[in-house]
Amino acid sequence: MKMKPDIFQAIADPTRRAILTLIAIQALTPNVMAEKFDMTRQAVSKHIKVLQECDLIKPQPSGREIYYHFNAQKMQEFDHWLAQFRQNWETQFNQLDKLLSTIKEQKK
């Protein structure tokens, strides 16, 4: 399996969650992010790097600035993947239901 940056780590950080929430509404430059969160450019760059590594945000150069967009598709992929996990459990539990009925029948 190919290695992927850890999306959990990316969203476990409250500042990064806030950044995501913000850029989900509007693409932002690192400078604006730094202002809004009262952080240094270096701190913002660090968060951007993590978010970008797991495809949660995408850069889009515009003139001399880089705007970061929220990559909703990545979040959907992740949710889709969790939905699959849920389905997996549902399947197993339905199997257990059937097994239980079988056991009950045998006991009669």
């Binding site: 959990f8 996990f85 257990l96 097994l99």
Partner: protein
């Protein structure tokens, strides 16, 4: 299968934790056995068409279950569950890790907590799964899921009804 049995599935992404609750129409003692006895676990705990194959299971604190998820093409994915806490009929905890066929564990794993309670002849099972990393969780899902999902799309009902006969 349509039924009125409770099924809850919640994921706290930030906490890397999955919460699963399911009701079963059977007494607690039987459900406990279904989760803690190899011969029963092997009959339901892999989503069809995968199947579970337990090599050995020693259900006691510090004991292990060494088992495989076997795909229809015969490919085996091995895992080790180590029991860290057992309160008969009501709770058990385990540390689950993937392994190779020689039982060498691949860390990190995930922590599983199972709670059982009965009301009016129905048993509720609550499972909490904490994963240390995303890769681990992704693999956990991949291991049992891919085949089952395809099958589900193709008509899981048909498959299960057929298997029953």
């Amino acid at each position: 299968m349509k039924n009125d049995l409770l099924f809850d599935f919640n994921v706290d992404k930030a906490a890397k934790t999955v919460y699963i609750t399911r009701e079963f129409n059977a007494p607690q003692a039987l459900i406990w056995d279904a989760f803690t006895k190899a011969e029963l676990l092997d009959q339901w705990s892999a989503p069809a068409p995968m199947r579970a194959k337990t090599k050995y299971m020693d259900f006691k604190i510090g004991g292990r279950r060494f088992y495989a998820m076997v795909a229809p093409d015969g490919q085996e994915g091995w895992a080790v569950q180590e029991y860290t806490s057992i309160t008969p009929k009501t709770n058990f905890k385990m540390y689950s890790t993937f392994a190779d066929k020689d039982e060498n564990r691949v860390l990190p794993g995930s922590e599983w907590d199972h709670n059982f309670s009965e009301e009016k002849g129905r048993t509720k099972v609550s499972i909490t799964i904490f994963n240390e990393s995303l890769e681990r969780m992704e693999k956990m899902i991949e291991m049992g899921f891919a085949e089952a999902y395809t099958m589900m799309l193709n008509g899981l009902e048909t498959l299960l009804n057929h298997t029953e006969k």
